[in-house]
């Protein structure tokens, strides 16, 4: 009886262990494949065009290598996250937005870098601060279907004196049927909307004209 009892307990224990290992293995696989931050690009395709009525002014914006390497992670769908580089992916759109208003646009490493600002000849220096949120209405797919790209731009003169503070928000939506391998589509649309809004905001701000 004792032997039988031992056998039963042993058999139960081994099969239970195997089952547990299988479950753990599947969970680890699922964690590796699903519960991770999926990289996306939110680089704009359509950026503001150079204006026909550009102001004869030189502008610069601040973007450092550290800014470009800043990676953020926000929500996707199905409990997953997405990761991207908001500054790097916004730079072309930002530059295009400034070029839509001003005749000459350059990048400088800092608002206090007197030599770089003098070399650029810029009289207006734009310093962007970006915040983002994303979300997906789907529980089965990870690409975000809704994306908010919010930019605060502090503007300084060549002597680093603050002269304006602009705030623009870009929202982008995308449906599953539209992705076609472009998983950052909602983010891209948000970036495009933010760049367009920035052009309008600059043109509305008298001190920047």
């Amino acid at each position: 009886m004792n032997f039988h009892s031992f056998q039963c307990r042993g058999h139960f224990s081994i099969s239970g262990m195997a089952r547990l290992i299988r479950i753990l293995f599947c969970m680890a696989g699922a964690a590796l494949l699903v519960a991770c931050a999926h990289p996306i690009s939110i680089e704009a395709k359509a950026v503001p065009e150079r204006g026909v009525q550009q102001l004869p002014k030189k502008a610069a914006y601040v973007m450092t290598a550290a800014d470009r390497q800043k990676q953020v992670t926000t929500d996707g769908g199905g409990g997953d996250k997405v990761s991207y580089y908001p500054y790097r992916d916004f730079e072309r759109a930002l530059r295009a937005a400034l070029s839509a208003v001003y005749t000459d646009v350059s990048v400088v490493p800092s608002v206090s870098d007197v030599a770089a600002i003098r070399e650029s000849g810029a009289t207006l220096i734009f310093v962007p601060e970006i915040s983002t949120t994303s979300y997906s209405s789907s529980v089965l797919t990870w690409p975000p279907t809704m994306f908010a790209f919010n930019v605060t731009v502090n503007v300084f003169d060549a002597q680093a004196t603050s002269i304006a503070r602009l705030r623009v928000n870009g929202n982008g939506n995308a449906e599953w049927e539209e992705f076609k391998g472009d998983f950052g589509l909602a983010g891209r649309r948000a970036v495009e909307a933010a760049a367009k809004a920035l052009v309008e905001e600059i043109r509305r701000t008298e001190r920047l004209l």
Partner: protein, 187 residues
């Protein structure tokens, strides 16, 4: 029930990237390098079509763990050519009618995401600057990049996808900072 849901999400996740028709994101320049070009007082140039134009050429094909990466409505050689043209326009140095011309041949073009934690990019072009019948410069430029990747295809494949513009940006910035290139563009 929960286990089934996890498995379903797993399968969807695999197919979402595994079967997708991947397109390289749009190119964005190293604007510090472009601004330096803008202030360098170089002569305006035209950019010829980058070879090979054949979409089936090996350098125009990139596979990311079996998923093919495309360059949108062009080839990867065309992507590099458009990128340089866009940079020269930004720097005020592009003129479609200029006698000075930049031609490139794409010799290597690889994004490798087979590693468990790191991906590799490799690109090489042969660049020729000519004016009329005179060759001012012929030089090969090679750039290698390393980027964080992952074991899972759901991470590695989009990482490789988003790396391509960065690889081209590094290549073109290296060209713009090269003294031999600047000398040939100035002469």
């Amino acid at each position: 029930m929960r286990f089934t849901a996890v498995l379903l999400a797993l399968v969807v996740s695999i197919f979402l990237t595994g079967c997708a028709n991947l397109v390289a994101p749009d190119y964005s320049a190293d604007y510090s390098a472009v601004d330096a070009l803008k202030r360098s007082g170089l002569a305006k140039s035209n950019v010829g079509k980058v070879q090979p134009e054949d979409a089936a050429a090996k350098v125009n094909l990139i596979s990311l763990r079996g998923s093919s990466l495309r360059a949108g409505d062009t080839t990867f050689a065309g992507y590099v050519g458009r990128a340089m043209m866009s940079d020269l326009k930004e720097a005020g140095l592009y003129d479609a009618n200029a006698t000075r011309r930049i031609d490139m041949v794409l010799l290597k073009n690889e994004i490798d995401v087979s590693g468990f934690s790191e991906g590799l990019g490799l690109i090489e072009v042969q660049l020729t600057i000519s004016d009329g019948g005179k060759t001012l410069l012929q030089k090969n430029y090679t750039v290698k990049t390393r980027f964080e990747s992952g074991f899972a295809g759901a991470v590695a494949i989009p990482k490789g996808q988003t790396e391509y513009p960065n690889l081209v940006r590094e290549l073109l910035a290296a060209i713009y900072r090269d003294q031999a290139f600047l000398q040939a563009m100035r002469s």
